[in-house]
Symmetry: C2
Subunit: 379 residues, 2 copies
């Protein structure tokens, strides 16, 4: 095996594959990067058993300046190998299997020899047999992930809640996440209707990594779903994730469809107020802030109190306030996560009572995106 490649283009692809590689793995060979060289291209593979990322560097793509002198394959220690490649002096790097499983890395006047492993011992990729694909614009998919993954549970006690529930049917995509204290739900219309119905739970961690790879372009992301794996295709990169097994709890009934008090306000201005109030609540034992709404006087107020450290009070600017008077307490960190997912939008918050979950929706698009938060009982 021997090839020469443009170092900076190689590093960019290496970084993509490194996302999947963890130094904490129970399967030692997975700390390695698998390199397969054919006369036409170089394929890099990294995996932590949950996520597998594979990318192809083609000699037809000029950005790589790839010259293959001899095909072959090897597994190299991923972190160490990438540190070396990143520090090399020259614009180009040559990687050659010199002897057994030893790789020689040459660039300018520097030459490293590092010990690798037999690529035959690297686990095989999961097989995705279906040919049914779902297409979505990259930026839309990234938005869906950002809006739902915040509500995923970080506790392993109910593993199913560490994933986002996706239901795809016809040209509808529904994604829901909940950690049982809050819930996020986003609906999207697919550009092309699909034949089969899919009901899958994708680990939140996989979606977060995938989201970082998508970038900000609207280039399409293609999904293929099998019984226990999902495969995302982003141009010349393939991202595999295992699916979570089990039935996701029924969530549609959790979202209230009526309200007693509503407030319309700017998500980003309200976020700043909550951030201030949470400075104080973070210092106290119970991390809670109180929202007081008085529609008759058109006054909305956020407050927090902790006998040890002090108290905070702030008037909130609202564009409208309707319904019953209400005092409600909640965890400001849940509110911050929810508000961030709305960006600069105007939102509507709808409450039923001080102890019932309340919902946040964008004023412009009430039906497709909902954040739900369960209040905290303070007496």
């Amino acid at each position: 095996m021997k090839f020469t490649i443009n170092r900076s283009a190689f590093i960019a692809k290496l970084n993509d594959v490194l996302r999947a590689i963890s130094s904490k793995t129970t399967i030692p060979i997975l700390t390695g990067l698998k390199i397969v060289v054919t006369p036409q291209d170089v394929t890099l593979t990294g995996s932590d058993a949950d996520i597998t990322i594979q990318t192809v560097l083609s000699s037809n793509d000029d950005t790589f300046g790839l010259t293959v002198e001899q095909p072959g394959e090897i597994v190299l220690p991923a972190r160490f190998f990438s540190e070396i490649v990143k520090k090399l002096p020259d614009d180009q790097v040559t990687i050659e299997i010199s002897d057994g499983f030893q790789a020689q890395i040459t660039s300018g006047s520097a030459s490293f020899t590092i010990n690798g492993q037999d690529a035959n011992n690297y686990p095989r990729l999961p097989e995705i047999e279906t040919t049914d694909t779902v297409k979505l614009a990259g930026d839309v998919f990234k938005e869906i992930i950002g809006q739902t993954v915040i509500a995923v549970s970080s506790q392993e006690s109910r593993p199913i809640l560490t994933g986002v529930h996706f239901v795809l049917e016809g040209n509808h995509l529904l994604s829901v996440a909940t950690d049982s204290h809050r819930l996020a739900q986003r609906k999207v219309e697919l550009p092309d209707a699909i034949e089969q119905r899919y009901d899958v739970i994708i680990p939140g961690k996989s979606l977060t990594e995938l989201s970082r790879m998508i970038g900000d372009s609207s280039d399409p992301v293609e999904l293929r779903i099998s019984e226990n794996q999902v495969l995302f295709n982003l141009g010349d990169t393939w991202f595999y994730s295992r699916l979570l097994e089990g039935n996701y709890p029924e969530t549609s009934r959790l979202i209230p469809d009526s309200s007693e008090t509503t407030a319309e306000l700017n998500a980003s201005a309200f976020l700043s107020s909550i951030e201030r109030a949470s400075l104080l609540s973070h210092e106290s034992r119970n991390n809670v802030v109180k929202l007081s709404l008085n529609p008759a006087d058109n006054v909305a107020k956020i407050s927090g109190n902790s006998p040890d450290v002090g108290n905070v009070e702030e008037d909130i600017a609202v564009s409208s306030l309707d319904g019953e008077e209400l005092e409600i307490s909640f965890n400001p960190d849940y509110m911050k996560d929810a508000l961030r997912s709305f960006g600069q939008s105007e939102i509507k918050i709808s409450f039923t009572s001080a102890l019932r979950p309340f919902i946040l929706v964008p004023t412009e698009n009430e039906d497709n995106f909902v954040q739900l938060i369960t209040p905290v009982r303070t007496y």
Copy 2:
């Protein structure tokens, strides 16, 4: 006590004083920020008992937009107070002692009340009785710190070596630091001769914090030295540090004055080579790289070897190479620190033998700046 001030200018000064305040202190009131308000100005003080920083915000300085309504003083929880001020909504902030030791912080529609402490319980500042001052340009002083503090010991077993030794006499300043494996020495001519001789050891940690406050300007820094304290004055900010007690070891004899092999090369290019070689040495048990110099063939080579991970070899570009053939091994991390202190300069490295310390000096200015490194015996 009540005053109103421009929030961003206040934050800048607050950040300066916060450098001295640690949340890990055995004296609880030192987690606080002391605020003293007179009709003319506001003085902020922070301290961790080793370092004390005091800054004065004058109502004559327009950048502060300071209006004092009522003088007074208080100690407020430093970290919490600064987080609040940084998050407030308006350009201005008003701070008022409302009741006992409670402070009210108001800005725009937000209002915080936080519990403070009686300023009478705050420790008094160290007294510096001398009026003899030493003046140095800020950028020069920052350079001296950067060049010497790298060789300070991080081990508390010999506390005296955790400081930099300063000797000031006439118009000479000598600064030396060593952790017994390496040594850094810098000499500077003072703009004005001083009357008294000073021989003091300033804690490395104090110098590092001071250096961050100096900025990049050549505005003068004034030093005043008493028996167990040094005071640095930077415009409207005073920085106090305790001195280390004891006698600093005699270091002048450690620097060899003859050599058998010399190499001249570019510090920054050599640094890149050492950084690459250290990638390998960091993976192995003994963190060592080998430099091979062959003046007869004009060849300089850096290499490293670790049976478990692999090996590295690189030719080094030298502008001159003279004397005896030599192979010498050293800790690459010491070499990296030393090389960084030379920036982009051409340097000369002088060796006596494989087991004797060697020195690095700038080619342009051999007498005023020396880095010394002790080699590692590898057999």
